[in-house]
């Protein structure tokens, strides 16, 4: 299999005078987990939003399973098998846990037709959340009443329970407890083991990232500054590179 | 009290007056007329309807009156057909229905008390044709299409056209509240200083016309002005010679006589009562304005106090 699941070439993104991405090229292979690390404001989330079709790049090309595409919308990306968890979680406060988990992928009844199958969604939501090991009082509760970690768990559960072929996760463990993080990492590894699922994870915890990722990539100030197989580097080395590159960029 | 003693013993009948612009100052005297008649006769009345000439709201109010078993209903028939059914229902339920202030003869009411809106407009149009030989005339209306004033402007336009004089008409909307009306009329005048006359069909616009005529001293330029009803500033400006006329429709009578007819109908078991009454239409000018200014009375609505207004000397029409 020589085609990458997802490949981006020379992506540039400007917000008015601000250049958030200054020509980023990256790729993820089928069945691979790519970890993206980097400073705050480096453009990681911006890159991610471009890869999911949420916002268009200023310039640059995208390839999904070898074909060049212009992602018109999130729906379009989803149709191509790209699913994601945004950093802002994209939860709707007024809706229940299970409606949030199935947002825009609702299960419908056979009869009466076109009606929501709430029972089925409720049941499945419970299952997935139990899998992740997060204690959520009820799937009927509105998400605004939940704790930060509980909310994040729902967003993650939503993505992992889809049948995506490319999964994009923006800091999926930021608000998770240690125990829950471990369970989610397990879950992701199990998903990966099932075969050809590609995952891109934006992370800040180097140790966790090296544990789970096959390859890591470092972003700073809108550019990729370092890239290596996870096995070939270590936390101290990464720390050192981050400091060095930061100083270099700053003085430039 | 004396009059009362001669009346037969009767229940305290309740008359419901369904109006199209319940809070319009024009109908202040009407309500006083009803009040006085009811006090005289020992009856009760309710003043209800719509604030904005909304026929559906008036129909609802009438239906509520029927459901509430009113003894008699009076309604301004501002819509030619909307009241047919409720009137029929009321009459079937044994409630006499009278029309006042605005009429639709085919609606099935017992009698009409008032001055027809359209005919009042016609009278105004004839007057305008008399005042202005030719040229451009502006007709101001607060809310075009509103059932209580649109017929007046239609009547005025028709009469002016019928007169055959070379008069062109601009119909201008002034807005529903007095504070806007003044500015609109002023702006119109500034844009059309060749206008020969400015007339209005509602109380607020009439007041506005009179204020602009005073502000720009238009009578000195030979521009004529007139309108309807007697708001305080309108009266003052007529007195000071800035407005040529205003039309008084004797709203007091529209309430007083209607209540009287209702009472007689009920007292006589339906044998008597309904009679068409034309409450008339008075052109008030600089010559006839004085009594309006010198007296504050229920009959013109600018005072609440019930009192007899003394007068003396010969009576002029």
């Amino acid at each position: 299999m020589n085609a990458d699941a997802l490949r981006a070439e020379e992506i540039v993104k400007r917000f008015g005078p601000l250049t958030a991405l200054a020509g980023v090229s990256m790729h993820v292979k089928s069945g691979e987990i790519l970890g993206i690390l980097g400073d705050n404001g480096a453009g990681k989330s911006t890159l991610m939003k471009i890869l999911t079709g949420f916002q268009p790049q200023t310039s640059g090309r995208l390839f999904v399973f070898g074909d060049e595409v212009e992602l018109r919308s999130v729906d379009h990306a989803r149709a191509l098998g790209i699913e994601c968890v945004y950093q802002d979680l994209a939860l709707v406060n007024g809706l229940s846990v299970y409606h949030n988990m199935f947002l825009n992928r609702e299960r419908l009844r056979r009869f009466p037709p076109r009606m929501l199958n709430n029972g089925s969604m409720r049941h499945r939501a419970r299952e997935v959340l139990d899998d992740i090991g997060v204690n959520i009082p009820s799937v009927d509760v509105e998400v605004e009443r939940l704790s930060g970690g509980q909310r994040q768990a729902i967003a993650v559960a939503r993505a992992v329970s889809s049948d995506a072929r490319i999964l994009l996760l923006d800091e999926p463990l930021a608000a998770m407890g240690a125990r829950e993080s471990a369970l989610i990492i397990d879950l992701i590894l199990r998903l990966k083991a099932r075969g050809n699922l590609s995952i891109i994870m934006i992370m800040h915890n180097y140790a966790q990232t090296l544990d789970i990722a096959d390859r890591i990539m470092l972003m700073q100030r809108g550019t990729v500054t370092y890239e290596k197989a996870a096995g070939e580097t270590s936390v101290p080395e990464l720390m050192e590179i981050v400091r060095r590159e930061y100083r270099a960029l700053r003085s430039a | 009290r004396q009059a009362r003693a001669e009346m037969p013993q009767h229940p305290k009948w309740r008359f419901v007056f369904v109006n199209h612009v319940t809070t319009n100052p024009f109908f202040g005297p009407t309500q006083y007329g009803i009040q006085d008649a009811c006090a005289l006769l020992g009856c009760d009345f309710q003043w209800t309807g719509s604030q904005t000439s909304n026929a559906a709201e008036m129909v609802n109010a009438m239906n509520a009156a029927i459901a509430g078993k009113a003894d008699a209903i009076a309604v301004c028939l501002v819509d030619p057909v909307a009241f047919n059914r409720p009137i029929q229902r009321a009459m079937e339920a044994g409630i006499p229905v009278f029309a006042y202030n605005a009429d639709a003869p085919k609606a099935g009411r017992l009698a009409y008390i008032g001055q027809d809106l359209y005919l009042a407009g016609v009278a105004m149009g004839e007057r305008i044709a008399g005042l202005v030989p030719s040229g451009k005339v502006a007709l101001f209306i607060a809310t075009p299409g509103q059932l209580n004033i649109q017929p007046r402007i239609d009547g005025a336009q028709d009469a002016i056209k019928k007169s055959g004089k070379p008069i062109t008409i601009d119909v201008i909307a002034t807005g529903p509240t007095v504070d806007q009306e003044l500015s609109v009329i002023k702006a119109y005048y500034i844009g059309h200083q060749d206008v020969k006359g400015m007339f209005a069909v509602d109380a607020g616009s009439t007041q506005g016309v009179s204020e602009v005529m005073r502000d720009q001293n238009l009578p000195s330029k030979g521009i004529k002005g007139g309108g309807f009803d007697l708001l305080p500033r309108t009266e003052q400006n007529i007195k000071d010679g800035f407005l040529d006329f205003t039309i008084d429709q004797q709203p007091y009578l529209q309430g007083f006589y209607t209540a009287m007819e209702m009472f007689v109908f009920l007292a006589s078991g339906g044998l008597s009562g309904p009679a068409e009454i034309n409450t008339g239409l008075k052109f008030v000018t600089k010559e006839s304005i004085d009594p309006y200014l010198s007296t504050q009375s229920r009959y013109e609505g600018n005072s609440e106090a019930a009192k007899v207004i003394p007068r003396s000397g010969p009576i002029a029409i």
Binding site: S138 | N19, N60, T143, L147
Partner: protein, 334 residues
């Protein structure tokens, strides 16, 4: 200090779930209680209140605003508002009238009128989402536009509504037909809001616009759809009312009915801020307003004091509504 493990941190799924359910049920229940109290009050001061004749009248006080509220509530939920619906209300029966007098059969004329309303809704929606004009301004513009258009085509005077008696009866002339239409539409819209993707996506659009878009919901489509819906409901109500009173009036409806409908929605529990709402609540809000207006009219309150009393009554009703909601749902919120 690792104390108090005994007192049992609780909250199994079922307990919280049923509490939330109960609370949701209560949100509409408290306004129902207010409505019932009002009915009891009016019946106690005037025994005609629950008479057959007045129930019919009462139903007519309620129906129009209840139907339009269904549309406005959907718009409020997705974060928009339609000020022009009252003008569409006036326009629709005129379109029907002119189509009918031009020889189009009445049923088709109605469909034509509703299509025109849909077009106006589409215009409102597209200007709002495509050109990002706030809907308050868009629909303020179309409010004037439509009003002027209706005045022009009607020459400012009312016309008689046509149609056979039987047809008119179905379309609003029979005493209870309008309220039956209202119930039907409320039932459909309630289901649409609670049981379909459309409803869920409407809530999501209003609750978190970015989030909904991130989830791939076509938020613009949702908004435009609800504008179309509101216009069509407004036009349909205008037609019903034209048949009911037998007359088609160019200034019927207006901002008045729009206000009533939005007020019914808000009183029923739909916040102006969007993101949540209830259609049934809107119906009950319309009932509360209708009962107040009908009740006080029946009682013979005069026009001047009427406004004062109705104003106070709205406040009292709303305060008790919220107080009741708190009492019964005590603790469900902080």
């Amino acid at each position: 200090m690792s104390s108090a493990t005994g007192s049992g941190a609780a909250g199994g799924p079922s307990r919280v779930g049923s509490a939330v359910d109960a609370f949701l049920r209560i949100r509409e229940a408290s306004i129902v209680v207010v409505a019932i109290l009002l009915v009891i009050y009016f019946q106690s001061v005037n025994e005609n209140f629950l008479s057959k004749a007045n129930l019919e009248t009462l139903s007519q006080f309620i129906a129009a605003s209840a139907i339009i509220a269904c549309g406005e509530i959907m718009l409020l939920i997705c974060g928009e508002i339609d000020l022009s619906v009252g003008q569409v209300f006036a326009l629709a029966p005129f379109i029907m009238h002119f189509a009918n007098t031009a020889g189009v059969p009445l049923v088709l004329a109605i469909i034509l009128a509703l299509l025109a309303c849909a077009l106006i809704g589409l215009l409102n929606g597209l200007i709002t989402v495509m050109l990002s004009v706030p809907s308050f301004v868009t629909t303020l513009g179309t409010l004037f536009l439509i009003n002027g258009f209706t005045l022009t085509i009607s020459h400012g005077s009312p016309v008689q509504t046509g149609g056979s008696e039987a047809f008119a009866d179905v379309m609003g002339a029979w005493g209870y037909s309008e309220i039956l239409w209202a119930f039907l539409i409320v039932a459909i819209m309630h289901t649409a809001l609670r049981q379909t993707r459309w409803g869920l996506h409407t809530i999501a659009t209003g609750g978190n616009l970015t989030g909904a878009a991130e989830a791939g919901i076509h938020v613009n489509r949702i908004k435009v759809g609800n504008f179309v819906l509101t216009s069509v409901l407004g036009g349909f109500t205008g037609i019903l009312e034209a048949f009911r009173i037998g007359s088609t009036d160019p200034l019927a409806g207006g901002t008045n009915i729009m206000f009533l409908a939005v007020a019914a929605g808000v009183i029923g529990g739909t916040p102006l801020a969007g993101g949540s709402g209830t259609i049934v609540g809107g119906l009950i809000g319309a009932i509360v307003l209708g009962v107040l207006r009908d009740g006080f009219t029946l009682q013979g309150i005069n026009a001047f004091t009427f406004d004062m009393i109705i104003g106070a009554a709205i406040l009292v009703a709303m305060v008790s509504n919220i107080h009741l909601g708190r009492l019964r749902g005590a603790g469900a919120r902080r």
